[in-house]
Symmetry: C2
Subunit: 500 residues, 2 copies
């Protein structure tokens, strides 16, 4: 076990540097005085260079193989076997990309990000087009370096959703789309059945904060192991299993951003907080994938936070906090409002029903570009046409269309699918949790969340990165990722709300 211990210490030091970089990034977003940005960029560059060099060093590879030999025959589920399995996968991925390519990729995306921000602000897609072409070229090269057998997109998808294949995701999404588009159309004919004017009122920020903090502490978020700050774009981050921080934003005239945004980030945080402490300072101390991570944020935000049972307990409290404007608003009206469906242009503002269609659009376009079926120059028009087809709305500008998301400018090709996969998995896990612990709904109606959180911790959180997403779903629910459960959930919930 000596080599295993050496490998563990080496990976622990790499984790230390990575976590330090994460803290520098958190500080930049939440605390740093503006003039500190230039030096901070240098510091972050140096830390990631050091972590990368330590990671791809030949010595790391030798230790991994020696540790694997040490552990030959170890139980697949053991921490040790999982550690070496994940360390090897990470090492292979990291060493496949030549250092010059990594540097070029960083350089191009750093510049492209600036270009994109300006192009979006000025609604000038043409200004961004050359950068985007370059980025898709680099993504193609990255895929070739990383390697694939079936589809070039597999290599990119695998970076964010390990083990998932394009054909598999496509089959899931096709199935989903078949049922989802008709549902969206049916609801679209009854949009007036729900109005959400009660959410667009004046809500004191401090009161929003106090109420939200009370809820997330009941969820199990522990301020001894985390904290909440304000940022323009909310996120969750962690520097150890015992230091998991989230951020949120407040809108004085709209309840949703702070409330549901915080529940969402808390879902991410509970995942990291629930990882087995024995995995601290190992590459296993993280979520299985972006999709599984999203399943946790969506579960707490939507399955819990937008459920009738949850608000049976919390709505009277919210009314006490905001007698104006909510005193005279019934629970039914409020419940409808927070679940209002509205086909719209912007992904991040989309409701539960239409959200996945935004994702499918991007998932399909990325592949069509990589396959050469769609040219970057044609994107704006195709985007508009496809939005009309899926959602029945046409973006009046590219800023509200193809330019809306930050991902492509940052080189994140293959990423979007994880959002929709997360939505699907959230319902699969929810169904299984309720089957195993039927008391969960009645606990939630009493404002208690221990049974749900502990079930998730036991079945998902504690494993960290031990299992790949589809593997994890099979272990926990008995089947892989599918869309059936999600559609059943949507139809039942929205059928009732919209009287379908």
């Amino acid at each position: 076990m000596e080599k295993y211990q050496q490998l563990k210490e080496r990976m622990a030091e790499i984790m230390d540097v990575t976590m330090a970089a994460a803290l520098l990034n958190w500080d930049q977003q939440t605390q740093m005085p503006p003039a500190g940005a230039e030096a901070r960029a240098q510091q972050l560059g140096t830390l990631s260079k050091i972590a990368h060099q330590m990671h791809v060093a030949d010595e790391t590879g030798r230790l991994i193989e020696a540790a694997a030999a040490d552990l030959d025959g170890a139980d697949y589920d053991s921490d040790e076997a999982a550690f070496v399995r994940v360390a090897r996968r990470d090492y292979e991925q990291a060493t496949r990309l030549p250092p010059e390519f990594v540097a070029e990729f960083s350089r191009v995306t750093a510049l492209a990000h600036e270009v994109w921000a300006k192009a979006r602000a000025e609604n000038r897609f043409e200004d961004f087009r050359p950068s985007l072409e370059k980025i898709f070229d680099l993504a193609r090269q990255a895929a070739e370096y990383l390697g694939y057998t079936d589809h070039i997109y597999d290599a990119l998808l695998d970076q964010y959703e390990p083990g998932m294949k394009t054909a598999h995701v496509r089959a899931i999404f096709d199935e989903l789309k078949k049922d989802l588009v008709p549902l969206v159309h049916a609801i679209s004919e009854r949009l007036d059945a729900v109005d959400d004017v009660c959410l667009h009122q004046e809500f004191d920020e401090d009161k929003q904060r106090d109420f939200t903090y009370e809820v997330i502490q009941k969820f199990g978020y522990d301020f001894n192991r985390g904290r909440v700050d304000r940022t323009v774009h909310p996120f969750a981050t962690n520097f150890s299993i015992n230091d998991v921080r989230i951020t949120t934003r407040y809108d004085r005239t709209f309840l949703n951003p702070a409330l549901f945004g915080t529940l969402h980030e808390t879902g991410h945080a509970l995942y990291e907080l629930g990882v087995d402490p024995a995995l601290e300072r190992t590459p296993l101390a993280n979520g299985s994938s972006l999709g599984v991570h999203e399943s946790q944020s969506r579960l707490w935000e939507n399955l819990v936070g937008r459920s009738r049972g949850f608000w049976k307990h919390f709505y009277p409290k919210l009314q006490q906090v905001f007698p104006t404007p909510l005193g005279g608003v019934s629970l039914d009206t409020f419940y409808g409002a927070i679940n209002k469906v509205q086909p719209s242009l912007i992904r991040v503002e989309a409701d539960e029903v239409t959200y996945n269609l935004h994702i499918m659009l991007r998932f399909e376009l990325e592949q069509e570009i990589l396959e050469g079926k769609v040219k970057i120059a044609e994107l704006p028009e195709i985007w508009k046409a496809r939005m009309q087809e899926y959602l029945g709305v046409t973006p009046p500008t590219d800023a509200l269309g193809v330019l809306q998301d930050v991902h492509w400018s940052s080189g994140l090709i293959g990423y979007f699918a994880t959002y929709a996969l997360g939505n699907l998995m959230s319902v699969q896990l929810w169904d299984k949790a309720l089957a195993d612990a039927p008391d969960i709904p009645s606990q939630i109606e009493r404002g208690e969340f221990d049974a749900l959180r502990e079930w998730l911790r036991q079945n998902v959180h504690r494993h960290g990165r031990k299992y790949m997403p589809d593997e994890l779903m099979r272990r926990v629910t008995g089947e892989g990722i599918q869309s059936r459960s999600y559609m059943r959930y949507l139809k039942r919930k929205y059928g009732e709300i919209y009287g379908l």
Copy 2:
């Protein structure tokens, strides 16, 4: 210049890691949730190990010598020559201590710190004695590794006050003590001439904060390049020339901690903020020494913040902020109160007059221990006797005596002298600033500080670590560090206040 550029890039990366560690430390003191401490200690350990390894690597030494050859004949005052001079000095110091010794020193002091904190809380010097003996042994070993010609203490002092010799400091302190002890005795007979009851009243914390922020912004502290947080023990720290943060603490029933503490830390911060931007990411981007740093904090805290001219402008404003309890308190009474002299037991609470005697006590004892003239076991009794001799007070307990300071438990032997040297330099610089810019006092009476701050920036701040402390003083004031100016300042100011 190629080797010089390579050296510069290498040192810049070392600085990046060091600054990252400083941020992790700041976060731990100001933001981190309590449970994050264990992982944070690991992360800090890894970052300092990496920075140390990069620093002491043979490659660093080779680059320094090659860069020095590149620059042969460069102007002593140039950034380049100063860079290589300081890099070489740092490298030589760092490489003289064997890695095993550095590790042992860290281990012993980390444990000793815990032991000391407990021993102080329980007033049990005997519990701390073995740790302190071990630490002085290690300090002796460190001095032997670092090397010295005249006195073993030179090697330790040089770590904090580069270039200063023990004999030199001793001569300065002897001169100072000769005049200071009689002054303290003279004031001690008239202690009732001043009372500070007006400072020990109820002061709303938010109002303390707003008033203090207004003052430091007028000093020139720029919230675009820094921020203020709360900690139990205030400090200043920086992560770049454009990100210099301070901390403070508030006492609801005593005005001094927040007010003068913040002015003090702002003095440190203005030094770092005033370093020439061309020195960013080099080892020159820091203060010349701890003593020169303290001269800046003391200058803004005492020469400015405890002066009559300053309060001529600000006292009416402070009275507006706190009509109760200050509305009926005259400027004279207030000015006396903030300058009240009181021989006392605790160094950090000491006034301007008695403070340096606390330092001399420690400076002398450290040498006597290293010379074998005083045994650790005898320290408590010698401390009490010496306090009676210098200050006319005898600590009733060791917690209020030899156990009061954190420094020794952290292995900081040779450090205390820098506080007193800082006091002396503050007045030397102040006198020279007023000679060069006679408008300074009248500006201060108008609440303006540009002339003073710019003089300091021009003469002290912008140079960073280019010059050693005594060298800097000779360049700026025409003579080395001396006690004459400080004593003249004390006699004039306190002669007036106490009617001597």
